[in-house]
């Protein structure tokens, strides 16, 4: 059932499969209607939070934030591919952390590709960096990844505390990725003569108002959370300000905003949550229970992260987090965060984030030729396990210093 929900036809909103599946399971009595309702009420605010972030990122793109980013990258790279790679790392890590991995994958990656192409540099290292960091740099904030949002709601941590505990693992993983990328792509990062300057493309100005709103939203997350208010309200406020401005300037229409909100995706997450609940309640939870160690000792954290990474690679990290959350929440926030390290870093092993998607992808072959899996997998094997171990060590150290 889980696999069925994962491998549904692409192109169609996945909600088309997940919502009826949830309804069938409720009707068949696999999950009591009350439990399904509770799950939907639990997931609702989380999905709302994510939707606010997605709209915020979409409006940032409309305001030219990523165009300005590309221009800045091109100017600052100074004709040196290694410098561009370092700048792409910074940009992708910050974008992922603040505006979520969706934003990096959908909005930033094409800009990075275009920038590298325009500078007559080889695009592969820079594009791979974006796809890798979209996963591994999504550790820092609850808003960086839907998996974090789900865990954040369950962990009871404050926004600032979550960020404080994850800061060290975040930096450690990015450091590992950078070291490996520099060596792995050494032959693509040799110096190039400067490409002809494209002054028009390089003059995209930074949308200051937009950046200020995003920064205030970020501060709002911390303040709201510390005051006991859901940080989702800060996201909603930020998105509302930018949306009102875009509507007033006729840069957006209600329809384009609605499309950016991606409501079918919200429905899909609700449906998936109920399906996963039913599967967990009917045996999967009992089967996995012995595999999830109790406590937050270093070996326990490592085991939780490894299990989470494995599960994320088999299906996808979204179902993985829904399955593992109830099992790890009992051991406290440390265990939940270790699980997040696994589900967020793990997907880099298979370039589509999970074997299920990978197999599905191979049957689709949209580019006509088989993608070069070898290279991406080698890169994943070099960064993934090392990154995971270092991140768990960093988390463990953080927990010792800051207290679980």
């Amino acid at each position: 059932m889980l696999a069925w929900a994962v491998i549904r036809p692409r192109g169609w909103p996945e909600a088309v499969a997940a919502v009826p599946a949830a309804v069938i399971l409720i009707a068949a009595g696999a999950i009591p209607a009350g439990a399904a309702g509770a799950e939907a009420r639990r997931l609702g605010p989380v999905v709302g939070f994510l939707i606010a972030i997605l709209v915020l990122a979409h409006l940032c793109d409309d305001d030219g934030l990523f165009r300005a980013c590309g221009a800045w990258l091109a100017r600052s790279a100074d004709g040196r591919p290694r410098r561009l790679l370092a700048l792409v790392f910074v940009t992708a890590a910050v974008t992922t952390a603040v505006l979520s991995l969706d934003t990096t994958v959908v909005l930033l990656t094409p800009v990075v590709f275009a920038t590298a192409a325009r500078l007559q540099m080889r695009s592969r290292p820079h594009v791979y960096a974006c796809t890798h960091l979209a996963n591994s740099a999504s550790l820092l904030l609850p808003v960086s990844n839907l998996t974090n949002l789900l865990a954040f709601a369950a962990s009871g941590l404050a926004f600032g505390r979550f960020a404080a505990l994850m800061a060290l693992p975040w930096l450690a993983v990015i450091g590992i990725e950078y070291a490996v990328f520099g060596r792995f792509f050494a032959s693509d990062l040799g110096p190039v003569p400067p490409a002809p300057r494209d002054s028009r493309a390089e003059q995209a100005a930074l949308p200051v108002f937009t950046v200020v709103v995003v920064a205030l939203t970020l501060a709002g997350f911390v303040i709201a959370s510390a005051a006991g208010v859901s940080p989702a309200w800060a996201a909603l406020a930020g998105a509302t300000v930018l949306a009102a401005r875009a509507l007033a300037r006729r840069r957006a229409t209600p329809l384009s905003l609605l499309r950016a909100a991606d409501l079918p995706f919200g429905l899909f997450v609700l449906g998936l949550g109920i399906v996963v609940q039913a599967v967990v309640g009917n045996g999967l939870g009992r089967a996995l229970m012995p595999l999830v160690p109790a406590g937050t000792s270093l070996p326990a954290l490592l085991a939780i992260a490894a299990l989470a990474a494995a599960l994320a690679n088999v299906c996808n990290n979204l179902p993985a987090v829904l399955v593992l959350l109830p099992l790890t929440a009992a051991s406290g926030a440390g265990a939940v965060l270790a699980m997040l390290l696994g589900v967020n870093i793990g997907p880099n092993l298979t370039y589509t984030g999970s074997l299920a998607t990978l197999l599905w992808r191979r049957t689709l072959r949209s580019h006509g030729e088989a993608p070069d899996l070898g290279e991406f997998t080698r890169l994943g094997l070099l960064t993934g396990p090392a990154g995971l171990v270092i991140a768990v060590l960093a988390l463990w150290a953080g927990l010792r210093v800051l207290g679980g």
Binding site: D102, P110, P193, T357
Partner: protein
């Protein structure tokens, strides 16, 4: 035939100009690999259930424009009539296949040139040098290094005694 790649193409064109006979017919070859687009699409598919746009949709268009720019720049630098050949495939295999009937294939070294040795030739160049079905001219993207960069001869533990 001149294989032009991002970063190192000028050296190959210059080699063709200085070494090619006056009546030579030139072909400028560029290969676009789908690796970057595949990686971007893979990451997008990894975002389970998201609607919106597949970011790699724009890649083909951008890559085609960049390749056309590069070929045009190479042709300009060459300054002689030439055929432009653009292929979309895994680069090294496509180059070997495309150059099978060429009199000479000009390739720039890629790879980490700060430490010269057996592994300093990048994967793609190595493959082409190993498998090309025609003579290959391997040129330095920058000025060739001094003879002094050669490592010292291997040390023999048992000298012959003379």
């Amino acid at each position: 035939m001149i294989w032009v790649r991002e970063g190192t193409w000028r050296a190959t064109v210059d080699a063709a100009l200085s070494l090619g006979p006056a009546q030579a017919r030139f072909t400028v070859l560029h290969v676009t690999s789908a690796a970057a687009a595949d990686a971007a699409q893979g990451a997008y598919l990894g975002l389970l259930g998201r609607g919106g746009r597949d970011p790699s949709a724009r890649f083909d268009e951008l890559a085609a424009a960049a390749a056309a720019d590069l070929l045009a720049a190479a042709a300009r630098r060459l300054g002689r009539p030439c055929e432009r050949l653009e292929i979309q495939d895994h680069s090294e295999r496509a180059v070997v296949a495309a150059s099978a009937r060429a009199d000479l294939l000009i390739v720039a070294r890629d790879g980490d040139r700060s430490r010269l040795g057996p592994k300093s030739l990048g994967r793609a160049t190595r493959f082409v040098v190993d498998h090309a079905a025609c003579p290959v001219l391997l040129v330095w993207p920058e000025a060739a290094p001094d003879v002094g960069t050669m490592p010292p001869p291997p040390h023999h533990p048992h000298p012959s005694g003379r």
